[in-house]
Amino acid sequence: MNALDAVRSALDSLRASPLRSALTMLGIVIGVAAVIAMVAVGAGARDQVLRQIASLGTNLVMVGQGSVVRSGVKLGAGTASSLTEDDGIAVLAEIPGVTVTAPSVRWGLQVVAGNQNWGSVLFGVTPDYMDARDWSVVQGRGLSDEDVAQANKVVVLGQTVVRNLFGGGDPVGEQVRVFSTPLTVVGVLGEKGQNTQGQDQDDVILVPLSTAKRNIPGMAKSNPRFVHTMVVKLADGTDQEEAQAQIRDLLRQRHRLIEGQDDDFWMRNLSEVAATRDASSRALSFLLAAVAAVSLLVGGIGIMNIMLVSVTERTREIGLRLAIGARRRDILMQFLIESTTLSLIGAAVGVLAGVGTAMVVAGLAGWPTLIRLDSVVLAVAVSGLVGVFFGLYPARRASRLNPIEALRHE
C-alpha cells in the first residue's frame, strides 16, 4: 500500500464520523491556536518595546536620588538631599562624552482647572530635560530658560491631562491650579503612549524646576538645590559602561562617600530596562510554552483515546484487510497516518484560529501583534509528532490483531 492510498484511506475514515474527528482535533486546535496567538502578541509587544527604546535612544543614563540610610555616619552640610543640581553641572563639566544633564523633581498631585480636577504627576524640569527625553510640543510652546530663571508660573500639559481637564479643547492660555498656585498653560506635549513599564507617559505636567521648588509644599528641603532624578545624555559612540563608572566615581566623591559605603543614588540605562523586559518576556514565553505543551498533551491523549475506540470498532475491517493481504506494517501505517492526519488537520485549523485571534486582538485591544513563522512551523511540527506518538500504541494494537479472531469479532 503506497502512502497516497494510505492518506486517502485515512481521510475517508475521518470523514466517516466528522463530528467525532472534529472534537478529537479540538485539543490540538486549541493548543496550536494558543501558541500562535500568544507568540504573536508577545512578539508584537517585544517589537514595540524595542522600537520604543530605539526611539528614546540607548545613550541615556538615568540617575536618581537614593534612599540609603546613613547608618549613623555624620556627613557634612549639603548632603541631606543627596542629589543636587550642582551634581548635574559637575557631571556635564567633568565627564567626557556627556552632552546634556537634565535635573528634575517630581511630585504626584491634584491639578484643578475650573470645576475639573485630575490626579497627575508634576515634573519640575529645565528645557534640557524636554530635549533629553525627546518631548515634542504640539500646541503653544515648551518651557524656556527664561521660565526657569524667573520661576515663571507656567505649565506644559501632557495629552492625558488635557483630555481630562479640558475635554480635548485648546488649553493654551487657560489657568490651572496646583495646591494654591495658579499656573498658565503655555503648551501641550505630543503624545508618547506607554513607557516600557506600561505607565502612561502622557499623564504629566511640566513646570520650570525653580517654579516647582518655590511653589510646591513639601519640596522645601533643607537643600534648595536638590533634585529627584537627572537624565544624562551621552554623545553617540560614547562607551556607556565607562561613562557610567566615571559618573559614579564623581558622585561618590561629591557626596563624600567613603570606601565600602553604599551609593546614595541609583543609576540605570535603557539597555538595562530592555534586558529586564527581555527577561520577563522570556518568563512569559516559558509559561506559554508550558500551557501549549499541556494542551497538546491533552490533545494527544484525546487522539489516542479515539484511535483506540476506532481500532476496536473496526476490528472486523482490520481482520478483512489482513485476510486479503495487508501486512502488519500496512495496518500500522494506516492507523498512524490516520492519527497524524487528525493532528495535522487540527494544527492547520489551529494556525488559522491563532492568526485570526491575533488579528482580532490587534484590532480590538489595539495591541501590536506579529505572526512569527517559526512559531507556526514549530506548532505544526510538534502537532505532527503528537499524532505519531499518541497514534503509535493504538496502531500497534491494530497491527497485532489475529486475523481469525478479528474476522470473528462482533
Binding site: M1, N2, D5, D12, S13, A16, R316, E317, G319, L320, R321, L322, A323, I324, G325, A326, R327, R328, R329, D330, P403, I404, L407
Partner: protein, 225 residues
Amino acid sequence: MGPHRVQALDNVSVEVRRGEFVAVMGPSGSGKSTFMNLLGCLDRPDAGHYRLDGQEVGRLSSDALAAVRNRRIGFVFQSFNLLPRQTAQANVELPMVYAGIPRAARAATALKALAAVGLDSRAHHRPTQLSGGQQQRVAIARALVNDPVLLLADEPTGALDSATSLEILALFQRLNRAGLTIVLVTHEPDVARFAGRVLSFRDGRLVDDRHQVPEEAPGLREAVP
C-alpha cells in the same frame, strides 16, 4: 503451550486438485474452521505440511503469508465483510491496493471483475444500497480480482435466503467450470450437493471424503444475472 492445548485437527491428509469444487462439512467444533484457516494461510500448522500450488507455505513468515493470501487466495465470508463506506468498486480494488497495483489499472480490473459477477452497473453503489445477494457478489468479485489459485468460501450463503443462495451457488459453479478451484465450508447438505466432492469432519478428524456428481444449480446456464 498451556495445559489446555487443544488439538483441533489430528492426522488429516487431504489433496485438493486444481479445478475441484470441494464442500467441507461438519458440526461446529469438528475442526472444519481450523482446516479452513490453514487452507487460507490465516494460521500455520503446529505440525505437518501445507503445500499450496506446489509451494510449502506452512512455515512462511507473517509477511510472506500476507503476500500468499493477497495473490493466490480469494476469501468469501458469510457476512460479506465489505467496507461499508466504500463503493463496490473501491471494495473490489482493495486487494489490489495491497498488491501495489497502480490506481488506473485497479479501476479497470475491478470493473471487469464486477462485470464477471453481473454487477458492473452497481460499481458506484455502497454496500448499504445493495441487496444481500449483490453484496456477496461484490465480495466474490473482490476475491477474484488478484486471479487466485484457490477460492475459499466460509458459509457464503449463510446470510442469504434460499433463492439468492442458489444464485450465488450457480455463480460458484460457473466460476468452477471456468477452471477456478473452490473450497466451500458449509453445514448445510443442501449447499454441499452442488460440489463435486464433500469432506466431512468430526472431532478434528476427516471422517468422510466422498466424490459425487454435483447437482446443477438452477440458472447456471442462463446469462449472467
